[in-house]
């Protein structure tokens, strides 16, 4: 990992503190930190992360600061973001 720069952002994934350069997407920030999966499929529980990378496939859903079903490949990372494994698991709507 490159050394800490003034433009680096601090965020967390499932409670684990991580760092990524400003300008990263949420997906980019996770992958850069070695996280490749942040969602499981509803029926078979297969691991999912970034796939198309351009907002088309909706494979990369993640929770950002409590907001569900955000596309990680489109969302720009912000300082202090709390990222969590997607809760759009098929357990909703109120679960």
């Amino acid at each position: 990992m490159s050394k800490l720069a003034a433009t680096d952002l601090h965020f967390s994934f499932d409670g684990r503190p991580l760092i990524a350069p400003a300008g990263s997407t949420v997906a980019g920030a996770l992958v850069r930190n070695g996280v490749s999966s942040w969602r499981r499929t509803r029926v078979k529980g297969h691991a999912r992360g970034v796939f198309c990378g351009i907002g088309t496939c909706f494979d990369c859903l993640i929770d950002v600061n409590g907001e569900r079903a955000v596309r990680a490949c489109l969302r720009a990372l912000r300082e202090g973001d709390r990222l969590e494994t997607s809760s759009s698991t098929g357990a909703g709507p109120d679960a």
Binding site: R68, A69, G90
Partner: protein, 390 residues
């Protein structure tokens, strides 16, 4: 011969690899005809991948409309067995709900007329709705439950039909745009010219080009009045199914038959096996515009939440639009062109092409001299529309 090469000729050439073209082709090939389907893109590239997969009796008016739909839904049941499934066929029944007493009495009147023609249904009082649909708003006045309504995943259904077609020795070639025709002395189409060269026609050409069928007919010297009627579908995040049946507002049926300017929306709520929910519906004539209308989207969302308040906490992922192939009288066109012998139209199914696909295939088979389809064909002939030019 490679699957992606246009053959020299075929007995029957089907234009369009949507649900209609593929259902027609799979059946004709099974009946011993030699079929080639061509599509400018490939299987399910048009409206068949831009709608929903409801197989409905409930929204059909008594008479021709209902007779065709009931015949087709029975054929879907057979197809689910014959093709060994794989396309999420769910005979789960449909619940049509009325927001108020006035709408309810209209709905019940329609239901009684449909029942008189054989539709299997029961009227559900407001107080009994919760037993069928626990998450439905208590504000709803009442409804009608239609046992025959079912659902498929249209893209998977197209895929299953294409596999059946190819398994029987039939052909489907994508990336082939039909541009025109060479006619024989008797007026029949001898050859089709396409972006991939010519293809000879043995017996017939089937125009199954969906919302583009009007343009294709014109290219071939014929006429069919089909225009695109746009619809929006909202897609939610995956949720655990909380709507056991398909549920829609009774105003949906009137919307089909209305000719209003602007747009008209009514809530149609469908859970899918993948967990996402599909929320419709809208109708508007805006050509082939693909720009999502945010007012339409908001209206569909609000109407859906009014039926199922729990939807308010479900996230929307995206919205897509599709084009229903609409005729002036909202009935499909299944018959030979008035001016071009051997050009058979199988199109104009508006918002019911998936449901009506197997019956449409039977109609085309009968037009080619095959067995009786079990329903009256004449009323669906393109002869009912005055040709634009003679």
């Amino acid at each position: 011969m490679a699957d992606d090469e246009l053959p020299e000729r075929a007995e029957v050439v089907v234009i369009g690899a949507g649900i209609i073209g593929c259902a027609v082709a799979a059946l004709l090939q099974a009946e011993g005809l030699e079929v080639c389907v061509v599509d400018q893109v490939g299987p399910a590239a048009g409206s068949s991948s831009a709608g929903e997969g409801n197989l409905l009796v409930s929204d059909k008016l008594p008479g021709l409309d209902l007779e065709l739909a009931r015949a087709s839904l029975a054929l879907w049941r057979d197809l689910a067995d014959e093709l060994a499934g794989g396309f999420e066929y769910e005979p789960k029944g449909g619940l049509v709900v009325a927001p108020d007493e006035a709408a309810l009495s209209q709905l019940v009147a329609l239901a009684e007329a449909q029942r008189a023609e054989g539709a299997v249904l029961s009227v559900v009082a407001g107080s009994e709705l919760a037993a069928l649909e626990p998450n439905l708003s208590r504000e709803v006045a009442g409804g009608v439950f239609y046992e025959e309504d079912a659902q498929v995943q249209p893209m998977l259904a197209v895929d299953a039909l294409v596999r059946a077609l190819r398994g029987r020795g039939g052909r489907l070639v994508g990336g082939v745009t039909v541009r025109g025709a060479t006619r024989a002395h008797d007026g029949r189409i001898a050859r089709l010219s396409t972006s991939a060269g010519d293809i000879g026609v043995g017996r017939a050409v089937v125009n199954a080009a969906g919302a583009w069928a009007g343009e294709v007919a014109t290219l071939l010297g014929g006429y069919v009045p089909v225009t695109p009627r746009r619809g929006h579908v909202l897609v939610t995040e995956p949720v655990a199914p909380f709507t056991p049946h398909k549920v829609y507002e009774s105003g949906y049926v009137a919307a089909i038959h209305e000719d209003a300017r602007g747009y008209r929306t009514s809530a149609v709520v469908e859970a899918t096996p993948s967990g996402t929910m599909l929320l419709g519906s809208s109708r508007e004539f805006v050509g082939f515009s693909r720009t999502v209308n945010s007012a339409v989207r908001a209206s569909i969302a609000a109407r859906s939440i009014r039926l199922f308040p729990a939807l308010a906490s479900v996230r929307l992922l995206r919205t897509y639009v599709g084009f229903r192939p609409a005729t002036p009288d909202r009935l499909p066109v299944l018959g030979e062109d008035v001016q071009v012998p051997g050009l058979l139209h199988a199109t104009g199914h508006e918002g019911a092409g998936v449901g009506l696909a197997p019956a449409s295939a039977r109609a085309v088979l009968a037009l080619l001299g095959g067995r009786d389809p079990g329903f009256a064909l004449d009323p669906f002939s393109p002869a009912r529309f005055a040709p634009a030019r003679q």
